[in-house]
Subunit: 230 residues, 2 copies
């Protein structure tokens, strides 16, 4: 091997490749349907094909990549139907997380959830979409962790990354910011009074609304990126 490994440190080379490629998929830098050529990726990251191959295999096991035997790998293309099923799952998973959070969060967790949520109100007024997006992610992650269930956490985070390529445009819609905050508020209130059912329902509705907004963009996007697939 010629030079030093560039960025994305820590772990084995394979892990670095999984993260590097996975990130590029999740952030939309690599779009659904795009071809993932082992040789080019290996050259791009200055490693041999072996770790790239292993990474592609793992990403395929995670559902982010699709592998066609002897025909290479592509960024996973999901049908509109499967996309819908993932959004629906996401709504159910968030509902579970919110319900458990209402029942199980420690007082510390409740307090910081509330504080951060209130703080984010400023971002709505300022229309700071970028920053709000960051807080939004934080907020949801708090719910996932608040459920105190490692496996549900895993599934939820995994589903969220698989959906990530399809929800980029989610806050571009006018008025979405304020609406999102209101919905968060309903969830927080329910959690604070320990009402699991209400929290679950509010979270489910919240995600459902977001998903409807995203789905339209998403599929158009993917088709434009890879019209010649299959």
């Amino acid at each position: 091997m010629s030079g030093k490994r560039s960025l994305i440190r820590s772990g084995t080379t394979v892990d670095q490749m999984v993260r590097a490629i996975g990130d590029r998929i999740v952030t939309g830098f690599l779009r659904p349907g795009e071809k993932l050529d082992e040789t080019s990726l290996a050259a791009r990251f200055d490693v041999s094909r072996t770790p790239v191959r292993e990474a592609l295999g793992q990403l395929s096991a995670m559902g982010l990549v699709e592998r066609r035997p002897n025909r290479g790998a592509i960024v996973a293309v999901v049908t509109q139907e499967h996309l819908a099923s993932m959004f629906e799952s996401m709504a159910e998973l968030e509902a579970i997380c919110a319900r458990f959070s209402a029942e199980r969060m420690t007082s510390g967790e409740r307090r910081s959830l509330e504080i951060e949520h209130q703080a984010s109100a400023r971002l709505v007024q300022l229309r700071a979409e970028e920053d709000y997006e960051y807080f939004n992610t934080e907020f949801h992650t708090r719910l996932y962790r608040g459920a105190h269930n490692a496996h549900i956490y895993e599934m939820t985070v995994m589903t969220r990354s698989r959906l990530a390529p399809f929800r980029r445009a989610q806050f571009m819609l006018p008025g979405r910011l304020a609406k999102s905050w209101q919905e968060h508020d309903t969830i927080v209130t329910a959690i604070m009074r320990g009402d699991g059912n209400a929290a679950g329902k509010a979270a489910r509705d919240h995600v459902s609304i977001v998903s409807e907004a995203s789905a339209v963009f998403a599929v158009g996007d993917q088709l434009r990126a890879a019209p010649q697939h299959q």
Copy 2:
């Protein structure tokens, strides 16, 4: 490579290895904590280390295998806490599947669910544990499919396989067969009358009860198999 590939046909060598090793883990032939030596596995299946390595990577991405850098792979050892979280997740997932099934199953699906369920009553009377176990699996799979949601199906099946090594003893308990059938009956009845909430609740309770029975056995088992782990 010397001879022909033995059993487990179709797909690439890597896929075959994933299935072969995965099966052995799920069926309990390989126990939690057991060391998975690349060289021996390669020799055992008469392939080179490369496909075995890739398979272990994928199994690790699926959570069935645990990889420690430079220190080899072992069959995933789960803490009692994580095991509990998986059983709880399973209960929630089954609840979702049952709820959706009640709302979405086609009349054909409803009919065959009912028919098979009634047929299995005979197995209870005959105390045919082996056969009942087969029908039990079928029954639950019907619920997962009946939800008409591909992603929830994936998550549920995956979670079930990760739990499989820990529920082997589940029907050994006396009277468990009849109780299980009764619980199934409650679920079926709710589904037949389209009552999603009742079906969900019944399914959640059903799994919760099974999990309590399994958990005790399971952890003892795993510790006995690999007392020297870490």
